[in-house]
């Protein structure tokens, strides 16, 4: 926010009594200021309205189930047996897989673009990453469904064969020794959905990180070089510490988007309503795809239940995004860009 000292006149340096500072704003400035303020207020109001709307619509369902809404792993709203234990777990797992894959990818790409790639290549790379972000999610979904899924089965199988002893990589019904084993236990899984979502959120994470990395002060970079650092040394000593906020912020931003990703997940997963911690195994669920799936055929009460699930997702993403922005604001790069 434009604070008092920003546009003030010359402060009397040698006065003992600090002069009262005021800002003389022109009409144009004032109008601009009001515009910005009202835009900000409207955004907040819309957010609040969305939350309120969800809360009101969800009220009926939430009153019917109470606390068990968070612990029930079923979805039969019409017989009043429903809860988000399973779908929320699925949502978080998909997002976790997505972030695990996308963060190294985005971090590496961002560093490459900001510090390694030759200058002419940078613009092309930036454009390509932005292009990736612009691809509609249904395209990612179809790509995942018709191309990725059949090609990822081998990896899933290998992981579960050799690392199945790690609980979350276990696959029920996998038959490692059986040549006729069905490949379908590895399809429509959290893992496949997670990979697709990872590719969708990576561009956003990459852009945020790249922005921050390129802002790393040139003086410090040069200083690091002057002290004999290699490029990697410079990156570790200057760019990464400086951009820590951006990395965390970008990650969280991606996480927020991963939690809400709908259509790509909807296309890939085979919805189940029990808590399914095995990420390689077929069957998972997510709040947003649940809503997409049942939005059309839900009864009034069912719609209320879907709204309640939506509310849970809304709150979750709100928390994630607020955490992200506060971390970014507190970091050096973030503080600078905010100030």
């Amino acid at each position: 926010m434009a604070s008092a000292e920003a546009g003030s006149g010359r402060p009397g340096l040698h006065d003992d009594i600090p002069r009262r500072l005021g800002t003389a704003r022109g009409t144009g400035d004032r109008i601009f200021r009001y515009q910005l303020t009202s835009a900000g207020v409207v955004v907040l109001a819309i957010m609040a309205a969305v939350g309120l709307f969800l809360l009101l619509r969800a009220g009926q369902a939430l009153r019917a189930t109470g606390f068990s809404f968070l612990t029930t792993a079923q979805w039969q709203p019409d017989v009043h047996r429903f809860g988000i234990a399973a779908v929320l777990t699925g949502t978080l797992l998909i997002a976790a897989v997505a972030v695990t894959i996308s963060v190294p990818l985005a971090l590496g790409t961002a560093l490459f673009i900001s510090d390694v790639a030759p200058r002419p290549l940078r613009r092309t790379l930036v454009a390509m990453v932005d292009l990736m972000a612009a691809v509609p999610s249904v395209v990612y979904g179809l790509w995942g469904l018709f191309f990725l899924q059949k090609n990822v089965i081998g990896l899933s199988r290998w992981l579960s064969d050799w690392f199945g002893w790690i609980p979350f990589l276990h696959v029920d019904g996998a038959q490692p020794g059986d040549p006729l084993a069905s490949a379908s236990v590895y399809t429509a899984s959290t893992f496949v959905a997670g990979i697709v979502v990872a590719l969708m959120v990576a561009p956003i994470q990459c852009s945020v990180m790249r922005e921050v990395f390129t802002q790393a002060p040139a003086g410090e970079r040069e200083g690091a070089y002057a002290l004999g650092a290699t490029r990697w040394g410079m990156i570790r000593a200057v760019v990464l510490p400086y951009g820590k906020g951006g990395v965390i912020g970008g990650t969280m931003l991606g996480l927020g988007r991963a939690l809400g990703e709908t259509i790509a997940v909807y296309l890939i997963i085979s919805p189940v309503f029990n808590i399914q911690p095995h990420i390689l195994q077929t069957g998972t669920n997510s709040v947003s795809s649940l809503i997409a799936l049942h939005y059309g055929d839900a009864s009034d009460f069912g719609m209320s239940a879907l709204m309640a699930a939506g509310l849970a997702l809304f709150l979750l993403t709100l928390v994630v995004n607020f955490t992200a922005s506060s971390i970014v604001a507190r970091s050096r790069s973030g503080a600078q860009s905010e100030g």
Binding site: Q76, S182, S184, V185, P271, H294
Partner: protein
Amino acid sequence: MRTYPMGRRFTAVPLLAALLAVVASVLLGPGAGIAAATSYTPIAGAGSTWAENAVDQWRRDVNQYGMRISYSGTGSSDGRRQFLSGTVDYAVSDIPFQTHPTDGSAAENPAAGSYAYMPIVAGGTVFMYHLTIGGKKVTNLRLSGDVVTKIFTRAITYWDDKAIKADNPGLALPHRTIVPVVRSDGSGSTAQFTLWMANQHTSLWNAYCAKVGRSGACGQTSNYPTTSGMIAQSGDLGVAGYVAQGYGEGSIGYVNYSYALNAHFPVAKVLNHAGYYTEPTPQNVAVSLLKAKINTNKNSADYLTQNLNGVYTDSDKRNYPLSSYSYMILPLKVEGTFTKAKGNTLGAFSYYFMCQGQQQAPSLGYSPLPINLVKAGFDQIKRIPGVSAQSIDIKKCNNPTFSADGTNKLAQTAPYPKACDKKGAAPCTTGSGGATTSSSSTGGSSGGTTSGGGTGSTGTTTGGTGTTGAAGTTTGGASVDPDTGQTLSPAGSSGGTTSAGATTAGGTVALAQPVTVAGQSGWSSAQTLMLLAAIALFALILLPSVVSRVLHSRKDSAS
């Protein structure tokens, strides 16, 4: 010098004019079409994916008359719900409004007199499967009703189960997991299938419902209760798509017949009460639905809806138990977004598909409506507000079911199943008339449409169709010779993994006897070596830097 370019310019003028004329005609051409079409207001509908292939065909057909009909196959439940909330002008649903649902879902309460049902097409719900033996696609699988129910309730989980073998004597089924693929969205296909299971295999179905936590009996339900090991996909297309994928091997899903034809995939022949395994060819469906009890009480809210109990238990040899009609839900009141102008379009569209459109049903994998339902449908169309009633000479519709004497010609001429389709009979073998059946039927062949031939007509048809169950998969030879896909059992299917594939070429059957190779599981020396190699690789990468760092730090501390 100057005149020359001038001359050119002059010649250019007519050229330009001609060009303009062309452009104008191009621009105006469709414009004129639109002008003619303005009498038709675009309408939108949603619902069944089961009937979607037929509706889509009709929509494309009437485009030429300037009717802009949109339809989104989002599932019958969604269609009905959207119709109730007034977001669509018409809905297509395989089942009527669920005013008294048996599965505990909320009742749908349409306002009395605001809607009417009209049957639009008949067809069969089929079990499309993906199974190979010795690298060859099985195309002649046969299943009895309780086996189907057990498969979809996970009571049978392997393809080499005794019950499946009993249905398919001679077929060397592999010890492969069965993956049932069901609908994830609210679906009329699911409703028809579960109604059949609840009606015919009550105890199995109820036991399953109780097991998966649906309170007590779920009876007919639009939302399939899933359990682990099942795949749920949205839309008939989603189910068919999953089964058809490479990783869908071992899967079986329920879809409308047309989807199996489009995917070039085989469908399981289902055992009927006469003891024959049949598939839902247009003829068989026509025969089966002679036993459907249609509500003929015009004052009933459920006028024209079907009661399929007679179809399930029909003792006609040609019966396919899972045959049913799909319905369009017509609006009878001008309310919401529905106007009389839209009623006019809907009426004209309905007249088209109830009359001419029915001709195409068999080629799409559906079965045309019989004359009594077409007549009743015409009466229903008259009730749409804003419709311009037509008096159609029903004989000119060229509906394959119509005959001069009013009987159902399609059903009357439907061929009887071959002897080898009889329960317990040896599987149809090469050369016998029936042989064609087995492979052809399944063949969901592209030309598919005809697959009708499968059941009925003899070899010729099948061959023609490319029957081929083998169709997509196998050799050209196969498509010529209808007998492909016939798999014969080799000696031992023991050990679970062994299986035999039969490849036919020119009528000879070559049997392949795959050998079971002990699969590797657990830790062995190979894995130890792999691990060592990985460690060595990492050491190679990391050790130099680690060592140098250690040395440096020592030097630092020393100095």
